[in-house]
Symmetry: D2
Subunit: 139 residues, 4 copies
Amino acid sequence: MSLVLNKEDLAEYLAQVFPQIRDDFAIDALTEDTITMRLLTRERHLRPGGTVSGPSMFALADVSVYAMVLARIGRQALAVTTNCSLDFMRKPESGRDVIAHCRLLKLGRMLAVCDVLMASEGSDKPVARASLTYSIPPR
Amino acid sequence: MSLVLNKEDLAEYLAQVFPQIRDDFAIDALTEDTITMRLLTRERHLRPGGTVSGPSMFALADVSVYAMVLARIGRQALAVTTNCSLDFMRKPESGRDVIAHCRLLKLGRMLAVCDVLMASEGSDKPVARASLTYSIPPR
Amino acid sequence: MSLVLNKEDLAEYLAQVFPQIRDDFAIDALTEDTITMRLLTRERHLRPGGTVSGPSMFALADVSVYAMVLARIGRQALAVTTNCSLDFMRKPESGRDVIAHCRLLKLGRMLAVCDVLMASEGSDKPVARASLTYSIPPR
Amino acid sequence: MSLVLNKEDLAEYLAQVFPQIRDDFAIDALTEDTITMRLLTRERHLRPGGTVSGPSMFALADVSVYAMVLARIGRQALAVTTNCSLDFMRKPESGRDVIAHCRLLKLGRMLAVCDVLMASEGSDKPVARASLTYSIPPR
């Protein structure tokens, strides 16, 4: 029921297994069953008009859940997404980071389930929500 | 941003448009953007083994969102579900009511989005989560 | 890659483990990776206005996938739904059975995934689609 | 019930409104209610180990549906994704394009729904499935 990796170890491990993630995401906070992850919004995440793209929002939700699960099960790079549902509700504000609030709802032997609420920094109106299932490799 | 129907008016309207719902569900609490709904678990909601059936859990999530939306837009029986995603995470405890905690995440002109966390009464371990989109009839 | 239960054995096993299902559903056809299941629409499946209820549509999708999975893995009553996503697209026609066309997309060691397209009998316009994941008990 | 844009006009319009898409995707085929779209798999779409990344699969599903909808409603760049559900079922094969087979299930006045089956080129085993809802701007 406790964290296997703290925030610093988790960030270091993510940077090691997904080098391309380092420039895009940062961990703001980590508890036993929540993680707050930030999309460092850059030009390449935008759609014409300045809004954050769908794939960037998906990536933010996905990496949040991956990080939450690894924080609890340790360095198991092979955890994989099996299911994701997403609702896009508002346009993210242009030029702002997107903040994902992720909750661990279930950590089973084989499957983990989280939900994620995403909002532009400084706003409390959710731009999107997601729920994801990860399959955990046998230990 | 405020409720159009209070808890009593909402319960009365639901009983009127969906008479079959009256025996199955009760509203525990209602705020501007949350509703707590209870499945009055009975024999007909159970699967062999005593667990609450999937369709009963779906019905609980669906009626929670319907009630939340009507509480905000008023007596619009024709609001309809367009999308639902559900994760079943644990077995509901046999012989207990299931409590749904529903949050309104978006109430737009055409679409409303809610998420729902469900747990057996007296437990804080979620048995299921759901997110639903309702289409709102033009006013 | 082949069926473990044929249509008759499957129907008999379903009736045995879920007696309440017998009056509601019938198997129209079964192949190695598809099943066609019918909701025998009755009064209790209807909403005011004559349309088939959401929980009845969910139940039809769910039982189709359950039956498809059992047809391949045999009498394993304990297979359980872990995830479901549903899109409701049109009103089912009143007084008609609803026909579900279910495809097995993946049958893994631990998880099975199917999608389901549902239409009122005699129509080719889908009223709903669903995709479900089942967790398969260790053998 | 017929196409408003043919394959060439659609490709040209997509390249114009989403210039960054041009290098990543190609339309293989288009009918009144189906589109076949190809992810031109490159280094930047891969995860360590050579598998195609989740965000790239999401992007492929999303652009397939966007293109299918525009082919039917014309140059309406402002159609937006409101919901997506995804099941990841197998590892895409490294070094292969991913082919998306997208079906239009509903084209309403306000909402369009499609499903998408994705497989590595040359394989008939689906690597992922998706269903998406698009909101269509008032005309």
